[in-house]
Amino acid sequence: MTSIPTPHANDLPESQHNSGDNYLNHSRGFASWAFTVDHKRIGIMYGISICTFLLLGGIFALILRTMLALPIANIENHANYDPAYLKHWMDVYNHMFTLHGAVMVFLFIIPGIPAVLGNFVLPLMLGAKDVAFPKLNLASFHIFVIGSLILAWVLLKGVLVAMFPGLAQYIGYGGLETGWTFYTPYSMDSNSAVVEATFGAFVLGFSSILTGVNFIASMHMLRPKGMSWFRMPLFLWALYGTAIIQLLATPVLAITLLLLIAERAFRVGIFDPNLGGDPILYQHFFWFYSHPAVYIMVLPAMGVISELVTAHSRKHIFGYSFIAYSSIAIALLGFFVWGHHMFTSGQSPMANAVFSLLTFSVSIPSAIKVFNWLSTMYRGEIHLRTPMLYVLSFILLFAIGGLTGLFLGALATDIHLHDTYFIVAHFHYVMMGSTLIAFLGGMYHWWPKMTGKMYSEKVGAIACAMVFVGFNLTFFIQFIAGSQGMPRRYASYIDDYQIYHHISTGGAFVLGSGLFLVLFNWIHSLLKGAPAPANPWGANTLEWQCSSPPPHDNFTDTPAAGDPYDMTEWQYDESIKGYVKAND
């Protein structure tokens, strides 16, 4: 009770702001966190680790963007440099873009929303005391830590060997420069730490699978009385779709990575053309996971947006069952489109045509969601709080990301656009413009519940604007650069592309500053934030019916579940700066 200073706690009644025994101060000490089975604490620990990896991946991004803005990246200037130095410089660049991709994909975006927001919110939304298997949940966190330590070792080894080249003969080369996709045959020849990195990704996959198992069992078994499947909050539908993909796609990645390790370690030659193997088979295996993985990243983001858009528009969600079904449709369709990554790999024209058609079909459920969000806002009582600003950013950025996907899904245009900055821009709009934006929006939305503190709306809005502007500056220009022919993953470019790279790098720094401002806002809120009421937004999903922050056991009485989006009973109460149920 004394561990967290809560200066304004007395301003709010105990039923609103829980300054007494809550999950944060229920027990103390390192072990009470590291070995907790409380889903809320596990969610917070995931949050801290994942934001650290976001920072790390972001630093790699800024380094690689800076490298591309320097004069040395322009081929015109190459004559001024020693060839050995140039080669070394390009080598560093290869490491940077690979590490940026691998850290962001495996350590931030894939676990991001399910592990942080999902873990924290899912049992609360179900009115439950915990997920179905609390110990398994802890285990999957520990596995996540082990996997990320393995990847951290890859980085550390890279740094060590760069500083002391002599070490390489004892511990091997570190870093990673194969691209995050580990394509064969290069990943067979690369002398970077491919085996360690793939093993790390393999371990992280287990964490993802176990989280999926846990969520599916929780949603099947722990829904309270009155919560039928179609009264489940849409975020949970999205997590359900995500969990299906985690269960069915991740093991294929696991076996692919095991085969890759066997290939490196024993030369089994399944993928290596030098040994009679088939490198395209690797691409098929890899994308059989990694395309659905795109939906592991974006489906929970869509779920977050569904919650935020209705809560901050103070209006019942429009087209509940369409949004719910479209989550499942995206999850299932996502399994049958992986071939669109191989349109130019010599796939048969028939396969190309089928994959192209299926790829286009994914846009249907995605568009359904967008139109339903827009309809939800229509004639709603829109509060432009920070989470809502992120919702608006999300809708615009996701629309751009989704629509540019059509250019890549079309066979003819893909020939021109594949492996250019166009695809880089496209997937950043989908992964970062959608998933990261939704993650930030969701963090703001549930921040009062997680921490029991309010954040500064003013700083939040400024940071959101910086992120939005910086993001578009960085990536919109890349659509143009790509359509003009700038290939991706190149360390240098001809003069014509310099202007695009300069603008993009400038934008990256605006984006980076915006993200630091977000971090500042959060830290400031933790230290100085006003106490949060139980329901600052007037949403009707169950997590707002326990006090902020929630008590150790979440609910004293299991709340009765009704329509999760019927907010009419919640009235704003100025005295607590939050919403209370009218009939209470």
């Binding site: 439950a128 699978i209 078994m221 722990l222 829904r223 294929v252 030369r267 193997g277 009485d557």
Partner: protein, 367 residues
């Protein structure tokens, strides 16, 4: 599933275990039934990931088999069908005792439960024992996983294993190594190559014929072979690289038109040239394989080791789980009221069995 909220209010105030509640009921569940169903649902969900994980390997198997059928036809005959069949029986039996153990646990038959778990565990050991015999016999013939495989490309093998100078493998050695292997595994089908004495080396997969059969094939004991000897042997023999078979035409990547995708040229070859196996199927020899398929023969063994290896890992995990519930059964922790761990470990063990049921015919049986 959403049937009960009756207990909640009572339970919420003393969430810790005890206080007259069932010690096996976790605080976030309301009924035992809900808890047990959750555990089983979770296990089934997890098993689906296991299926998908092996699915990747089965898919790889299918693709390699479809694209390189000749290789599979040729190489699968080296697997020991008898040992595979014994292992199938062992696993099926242990699956039965496991299912019985689950029943015994549900009926609270403590002694029977312990006995059946012990038998199941024994089955696991039996399976591993047979697998050990199988793997070692393959290793003795030079059919290793990875670059040491007798069929591996010579140049790549030397590179991968770092063999240079007189230690390097030569095409001639590979040639006689394969003849040795064919004598060993296809001898029962009537295949017999005259291997020069210098190449009747155990390290090259040479297995002496059974006593009294071919006494002229006396083998030098392994310890008499020094590197110098091997070098001498290599120099003294001037056997050229393997004679190209009659069938040189490349069929790489071209699915055959014959039955089961067999290279049609092989079907056209005169039947009297080719030995037949017990079922009357033509037996391929290495020389008869299309030239461009020869470097890929090792793939069959790689796939064999990968699939059975991953399966063995699952057998080990399953055995550890069974050992764990065996210990718990000995401590008397299971009863009519609480036995769900036995149930979910049983599900896992059945999966291990199920995967083997697919592996056995795919690798050992189908022609």
């Amino acid at each position: 599933m959403t049937d009960t909220t009756a207990n909640t209010n009572v339970m919420a105030h003393d969430s810790d275990h005890g206080h007259g509640h069932d010690p096996h009921l976790a605080h976030h569940f309301e009924t035992k039934h809900q808890q047990n169903t959750s555990a089983k649902l979770g296990m089934w969900a997890f098993l689906s990931t296991e299926i998908l994980m092996f699915g990747g390997l089965f898919c790889g198997y299918a693709i390699y088999r479809a694209n390189h059928t000749d290789i599979f036809m040729y190489a699968h005959k080296m697997l020991d069908m008898k040992l595979g069949a014994i292992n199938t029986v062992i696993l099926l039996t242990s699956s039965m005792t496991m299912a019985w153990a689950v029943r015994a646990a549900q009926l609270g038959q403590q002694q029977l439960l312990k006995l059946l778990l012990a038998i199941t565990l024994l089955g696991g050991f039996g399976f591993l024992g047979v697998k050990y015999v199988e793997y070692t016999s393959k290793f003795h013939s030079g059919l290793f996983p990875g670059a040491r495989n007798a069929y591996f490309d010579v140049e790549q093998a030397n590179k991968s294993l770092g063999l240079t100078g007189e230690y390097a493998i030569t095409p001639t050695m590979k040639h006689w190594h394969i003849k040795n292997i064919e004598n060993h595994y296809f001898g029962k089908y009537g295949v017999h190559w005259e291997v020069p004495k210098a190449y009747q080396i155990p390290e090259l997969g040479y297995h002496p014929p059974h006593h009294g059969e071919h006494d002229n094939h006396a083998v030098k004991p392994a310890e008499h072979h020094t590197a110098a000897d091997a070098g001498e042997v290599r120099e003294s023999l001037t056997v050229e690289a393997p004679k190209p078979g009659e069938l040189e035409h490349s069929t790489i990547g071209v699915p055959g038109n014959g039955p089961a995708g067999v290279n049609p040229q092989i079907l056209k070859a005169p039947a009297h040239d080719m030995p037949e196996d017990h079922a009357g199927h033509h037996l391929l020899t290495y020389d008869q394989l299309p030239e461009l398929e020869k470097p890929r023969v090792h793939h069959f063994f790689q796939i064999y080791y990968l699939m059975t290896g991953l399966h063995v890992i699952h057998v080990l995990i399953g055995m550890s789980l069974i050992a764990w519930i065996f210990v718990r059964a000995c401590k008397g922790q299971f009863s009519k009221a609480y036995n769900v761990p036995v149930d979910i470990v049983g599900l896992y063990w059945h999966l291990v069995d199920l995967i083997w049921i697919f592996l056995f015919p795919l690798l050992y049986l189908i022609h």
